[in-house]
């Protein structure tokens, strides 16, 4: 091997020129998104190398501190593995890591809530990580939010016991795998918009979440829209937008 491991870019004849600023060749973080859209960009950790992720966290830290305070709003790092979370927290003192939801938030404390309540309902215990990702996202984006677990339709009394909570919500996130039936049932009871999050919980013909995805897309009650499988972040974000003006 003609070049020292790990430094191919330094070789004569190799094509990539070295980056001149910290994020060049790695990312163009959308620092203007909070101003443009009301909520800052989040960082999806999954699929990024540790080197790239750390560089992004460092750049966010530099920008955030240079602005004095947290004008960027809370930056969420989603789908973070344990080692990714540790590395991000090392770059961003004050960040908080929730290992169940796989989220790192910086700054860590949730802001003072405003707007209507986001209610997150999940069908089973195995859906809790995705549900908690939705919950924390909505809270960090500024909404009051609540989580109710294990209210799947196999025991209908469990969801029927929550009708008051459902009626009080401004936006509802339903997290379910397998048959995804909870989304239809909740929408049939609710005034508020329902965001369905199919999960990859299940096996065989659950097809890694395609079964509840299709089920929710075909919800027999109107008032349901669906996000990607296991996308608790997207559901929490959308719910926070919906409940903002309630």
């Amino acid at each position: 091997m003609a070049d020292p491991p790990g430094t191919p870019a330094d070789q004569p004849g190799t094509p990539a020129s070295p980056p001149t600023t910290s994020l060049e060749g790695i990312a163009e973080f959308d620092f203007g998104r909070a101003a443009r859209r009301g909520y800052p960009e989040a960082v999806l950790c999954e699929g990024k190398t540790m080197e790239h992720l750390v560089a992004i966290a460092r750049a966010i830290g530099e920008r955030g501190r240079s602005d004095g305070g947290d004008p960027l709003g809370t930056i969420l790092f989603t789908r973070a593995s344990a080692s990714q979370a540790e590395a991000v927290c090392a770059e961003l003192p004050g960040a908080v890591h929730d290992p169940v939801a796989r989220i790192v938030a910086w700054p860590g404390p949730v802001p003072e809530p405003s707007g209507g309540t986001v209610l997150v309902l999940c069908a089973g215990t195995a859906d809790i990580p995705v549900a908690r990702e939705a919950l924390l996202t909505a809270q960090h984006l500024g909404r009051p939010a609540e989580l109710v677990v294990d209210v799947g339709v196999a025991g209908l009394h469990r969801i029927l016991a929550r009708v008051d909570q459902i009626a009080a919500a401004s936006a509802i996130v339903v997290v379910a795998g397998m048959d995804g039936a909870l989304a239809s049932v909740v929408a049939g009871l609710a005034c508020a918009p329902v965001i369905g999050v199919p999960t990859s919980v299940g096996y065989g013909a659950a097809l890694d979440g395609l079964a509840p995805l299709l089920s929710m897309l075909n919800a027999c009650a109107p008032g349901v829209a669906v996000v990607n499988i296991d996308n608790g972040y997207g559901a929490g974000h959308l719910a926070a937008q919906i409940a903002a003006s309630a």
Copy 2:
């Protein structure tokens, strides 16, 4: 097996030799099925040419009459188009055609019911043809059977009003398209086995019935098994078998 052994292999190798007996080269009707399995073979009309269907109906008529009475049991012709039904009825005097269920039964009257009750529940008005196919099949196979329509989960009070009927059934058929959620909800309330029939009712991501099929296969409540999309006949047959000894 009472019919003469097929001898097409004795024909010379020319391709289009005419059949020498009524069903030779067309079908080997399983006249022994009622004795072997308890219920006679049915005739799936869809996909058969008119010529073949008429030949089969004629052979059944000849055999049935030669036995004196109806020792074969009631023969069902399923998924019959209007013209197919007309042709079958012309061959089999006394046959009855239900155009909604697309069934022709011969002899026409339903037998005296025995065994437990088969309850057929359907989620929406558009599911009625399939539900009715299940209902008539169960009745013609000898069970008392009832049909309840339009109790989809978007209005949960509709199915909750039927808990007594559900508790009294020996076998339950749930017919639903779109999200197929009714199967899980009913199974969560019932003691009796539930047979799910996904229907092709819906559009887009319903994928001609694949969405409710997958949903029912992943029912979060145990006690559900599933038949092919739109297969009311199969569900009614299985429900009749289940309820036979109740």
Copy 3:
């Protein structure tokens, strides 16, 4: 054939008992939905027989008139064929039919708008029927709503010319077939929640709308949720819910 055509239920020995009230055996219309959820049930015409559809329209008319005025709210009949629309209008004087959107509304006039504005954007001319279904649904459910057509991303200047309209909306519906890319682009520009409606416009690998469905579910911008392919009604309903409190 032993029974007169069309009257199988009148035959001795046939199983179905005749309905005693107008909708028995056909439907259980959810007249309480407006009270429970804020918006009345709609009638999906597709897949219903003419006989069943007319019976439902008649029952709605009787109930609506008996209540004096329109306490039910506006009832929408969606995905109505020309002949279905004509039959519904014949039962419900004052109903209005929009043949492009395939909607019949009864009573016909749209209510006085309240709440925030619903903006419907569609990518191409062939998406107009679905977009218009979303528009009319939002209007009949009480929101001010606007439609902008043919702003697909192949000519980006078209959507960039609409940034003010996008910024002013309380809920945005994006209707697109083919690559479904418009949903991501709009969400990247908008503060308001975006409801994506994939359409079956396209051919080949568009897979009858699965391509834009998958594309929208994977929108790289958060703030997008998706409804079923061609489901303009569902998108308009959800947008009306979201914009209600703005």
Copy 4:
């Protein structure tokens, strides 16, 4: 990292409040299911964290003992990994673990059998784990049950040697991967209802069990219904329900 690992909920500013009872925020176990449906809820171990699973097992133990005896009936823990099984058994003295079927049962002894016989047939040796899951489920739910292995249709004499056993059964479970053909063959020989369990045994175009799933859904013999791929538990449960009244 601002917070000690593993205790994010204890941080000021973090959103989740600590649970006040043992299962709050984890599960709502359906203790009433045995009374409502005749059989108790089972616990699907797959997908649950060890912490959540142990909490559920502990709560079941407390409830079961407080009721004096086992009024809950036998609780099954399904699809348990070796370490999950060990943890459950540690919480529930007297539980029995079957590592092939991946089931833990508490209390361990099977109840005195009643009702008709459940016959479990499997096509190949690799199908044994799923078949055994069905067998044990039926036995723990109170039925006499038998298992016959490796009777795939490639050697038809093997299944033909079992016709008496097939004739004597009240419910039959057929477990098969690859072509799933055994379900059709058995249904053609049997009076009793057949529950098909497609397995993920096979490779390539077996598509992780989709091939036998589709094959069984299209069984050319009526009297077959299908459960999810590898779902021995569901099949055993349904078979126990069917055979209960025989």
Copy 5:
């Protein structure tokens, strides 16, 4: 419209130059295939315009006659609609049309058979057209061939009555839709190679023939290979090749 209908190629400025020989711009018929491969090229009628098909038939006729006799061997026109068949027969006096198999053969009479016997088995009456396409292909390619119909596995006695015929065959074609189970069962009984032909017979989860296709690809008995759905021609061709040297 600037040009007369149907003659765009004659317009100045239009790009296509007129063909100078009968097949130029339409086809390059592989007249050498019989010499190279042992069997002549067939013409798939489906998807061809009438104009193109007639030109091809005419060129074949000219070439065949110019060679004196039929040195090309028998040319088969497959999947021919009624009108296509009529047009081909008009071009090729002596051609024979089998409307069930949708085949036109020229010259019409089957050649003197040689080689081993091809046995075609089909599961149901609706599979006859495809089975007959396989039968006629094998016969026209020079093999003795037999057809046995309606021996599906729901009544196993039907195929068991044919074991001698199966043992005597040099190549076996199994034609089946729905569960496709017949291929496995026959292969388990046979010494000869089995060619499976899945058909589009069935509905719902039969997925237009994908279910039996997958089933046959996963046949639990070795000695089975599969051709395209409904491809009776391909199966008959391959069977003729296999049986040639027997």
Copy 6:
């Protein structure tokens, strides 16, 4: 029905305001595309109503004539049915319709060719319509272009006879259905880029063109890229771009 057929927009209370210019509410034709991208926008006729299509054709005509000559370049109307083509030609005198390719071009004559040659190869006779759509597109966009038909790999001598033509081309379009194997074979022989166009020619497991699409995406020879199934227009457009600078 309360409103006269066809004029719903004129009703009081109906939501849509009437368009004030010819294309408002119908389309925003991208008249700047030729300047921006080098080639003008085309009009996909499929999926458009006759009313919308005619309005678009009229607006194009007005704009084209107002600019004096054809500064827009040639406008292609693709996938036009016979009646659509007739209507477009009526609006745009001088337009030329090719019924095989389903293209209407305005102005009709192909421009003087420049750049390298585009070679279109198609595997079978049934692929000609798509191949011709690619051919005409490339010619109308200004390239010299040639079409060679029926050179599928079943008779390899046919494509081997074209190696000189292949070597001389600047861009090659390969049009094939079924196995799509021609793309790999041609790319293995060619220096020029190959654009693969899978077609829907075939049946059964051809899955309406998915089989050749997947085959071409997995071409074992580099230098192949693929467009949508049956998308001759897209392939011709891309080939014209590639060959422009040769």
Copy 7:
């Protein structure tokens, strides 16, 4: 845990009775298959537990030795992992393991070849394991067989250099991943039947072998049939059957 690990069947109250003969409850090996079909049953190792596999190997050894000589014929153990192969060889002295093909054969030496030649062609180096599985199977079943590697269509000269070898073969196995195009090309050159074996070689849209599977099913040259993805054993078996009488 109430029972010692590993011995649940010994516990009072546990359901499974201990096996009384070596294979009871594990397998019913089809010792009569060689007599019935001409070739003995093989053992698919994949998916079997080590305990079950060893029991089967032991039973085969006992039976084989008790018959004096090898009246069973050669038994193949396919898709054997390294540890499985070691365990089988330990039970069956004289067995031979080919780690590339993942086959163990007992007795080890290939029999004296008879019949026509089986030619195995593979498209790329990564296809060698599957190709070798086909080669060894054909040889152990008694045919002379040859393997030619890396003759993919991207360099057509490689396969054209083999036309004599192709012409001399009695049966041809084509092993290819990615586009699977080699099957069509070879069939277009060959007189002998072609068995296509799609492999899982490739990535992305190769879909684990579905792309070449579909491609081969749609081969534009007749005379091709297909076995399961990566099923070298099945292809070699079928090729041996075909070539037996040549």
Copy 8:
């Protein structure tokens, strides 16, 4: 086990004869491809055993050196794991390994660029490995090439800032996962051909890259063609061909 591990071919009675030249039985490297097609064959490392890969590298080295200089052109080894890269570099002194792109090039230095510029755009940071594979391929095949990262459509200003770079390119490669929307947006802005590379970046309904693959195949802007998921090599190769003559 009768034979020493690893030397089955040396055993008497085993079928494979030992190779007589270095690549016999392993590969037929297409040394003539550079002469025939203009660019040499590359070696896909994925799926090859270490032994086979090393043999191929060695043969390339011998041939390259024997020709004096590098008449073969630069040989690329693609999708090389770390250990594969190390082994190849050990065989080929002077080779350069890029671990991000997983490419080994021999000889290592990129050639002097000629032709037009290839511009590689990628939507997100996680797409960099594939984008870099395209970049290096284009550079090693002789083109000037540039890489721009993280310009996804969620922040449209990022791509709009690159319009001059886009206008200057002769060929553009767009690398994107998730919604794949960047391809349509770029094509709408560009004169040059666009090669879309869908990536497996994303989760859930991204379906391992099928979502962006379908999206790009349905790009609403013409001038886009698509290569296999994650196929940066193929895109870079095609782009180099396109830009060669610019």
